[in-house]
Amino acid sequence: MATRLTDFYKQAAQEFGLAGRIKLAMLTKISSEKAASVDDSPENIRIFEQALAQLRSGG
């Protein structure tokens, strides 16, 4: 279970609403459904962290 990746979606929804979730999916190329099933690998965490940072910077 990828709890950390799912947390990134919750965080994006909290900060940017539904649009944030969609943008996060677009930037990471992993939907929330898929994020729940893939590993919390360091690589995946790094991708989500970068995507969230990009959302925060308005990109």
Binding site: A25, M26, K29, S31, E33
Partner: protein
């Protein structure tokens, strides 16, 4: 090969174009070198063997003219003016034969041909002395042509046969050199054909593999795009990657696919709420 597959399409096309240009430059240089080589070969042939064969024919004709002049001396030499005229012409032809044969003997590289020429020169000197003795007998015996003729009759046969052998040998040499030159040209032509054919085949194969790879991945990308356009995302997988333009496009499509999946899920969640 691996590095080539990792290249962008624009780089692959540029590499292919450069390959085609390089191939044609290489072929042009090879053809130029081959033409020069053939030209040099024929120049050498003309400078040496053909020129020697021509010079030999000139000496051969001069010797026949010398013998003819001797017959004119015997036939018309009873007149002082004719005697002086034909004697002069006889000695001119004799000098030309000697000079021509000497020059030829120095130039001919074939040892057997040179030996024949030396034999001819010796025989020509001997017959020259006999002609001189016969001439003196002819003039000293009130132009007795029968006496003079009996002294040299048939003596020109041996040198004539010797020189005929020289001419035949030089002509055979020219024929052999032309045949060798033709063989060299044929070999060079076959080599150029094999080389250019091999290079063209290699370039064509590389082009075919590159185009097939690009078209195959474009086809997969179009299939993904068509399914996205139809909103048919159930079980859709965008597995097109790579460092080139198609890979980058596939990567973007993965983002779009994930966004549509997310949107669909949100819509579904909203519907259930």
């Amino acid at each position: 090969m691996e590095g080539c597959l990792q290249m962008k399409i624009s780089s692959k096309l540029m590499l292919f174009f450069c390959g085609v240009v390089a191939l044609f430059v290489l072929l042009a240089v090879a053809l130029l070198a081959q033409t020069r080589s053939v030209s040099a070969g024929y120049d050498a042939l003309l400078r040496q063997q053909v020129r020697q064969a021509q010079a030999a024919r000139v000496v051969q004709v001069s010797f026949k003219k010398q013998v003819q002049e001797w017959k004119d001396i015997l036939l018309r030499g009873h007149t002082p003016a004719d005697l002086a005229k034909y004697s002069g012409q006889f000695h001119d032809e004799e000098s030309q034969v000697r000079h021509g044969a000497t020059v030829l003997a120095a130039a001919v590289e074939d040892p057997a041909g040179r030996e024949l020429l030396n034999q001819f020169l010796a025989a020509h000197r001997t017959i020259g002395e006999k002609y001189q003795a016969a001439y003196e007998a002819y003039v000293g015996n009130h132009f007795d042509f029968k006496l003079a003729d009996s002294m040299v009759r048939g003596q020109d046969r041996a040198p004539t046969d010797l020189f005929d052998q020289v001419v035949r040998r030089l002509n055979d040499d020219v024929t052999a050199s032309v045949a060798a030159q033709q063989r060299a040209v044929q070999h060079a032509r076959n080599l150029a054909l094999a080389l250019s054919g091999g290079l063209l085949f290699g370039l064509g194969l590389a082009g075919f593999v590159t185009v097939s790879n690009i078209l195959g991945r474009l086809g997969r990308l179009k299939a993904v795009s068509d399914r996205l356009a139809r909103a048919d995302i159930e079980g859709l997988s965008v597995d097109i990657s790579g460092p080139d333009e198609i890979g980058q496009f596939g990567n973007s499509m993965q983002g779009v696919h994930a966004a549509i999946e997310e949107l669909t899920r949100l819509a579904s969640d909203a519907g259930h709420a």
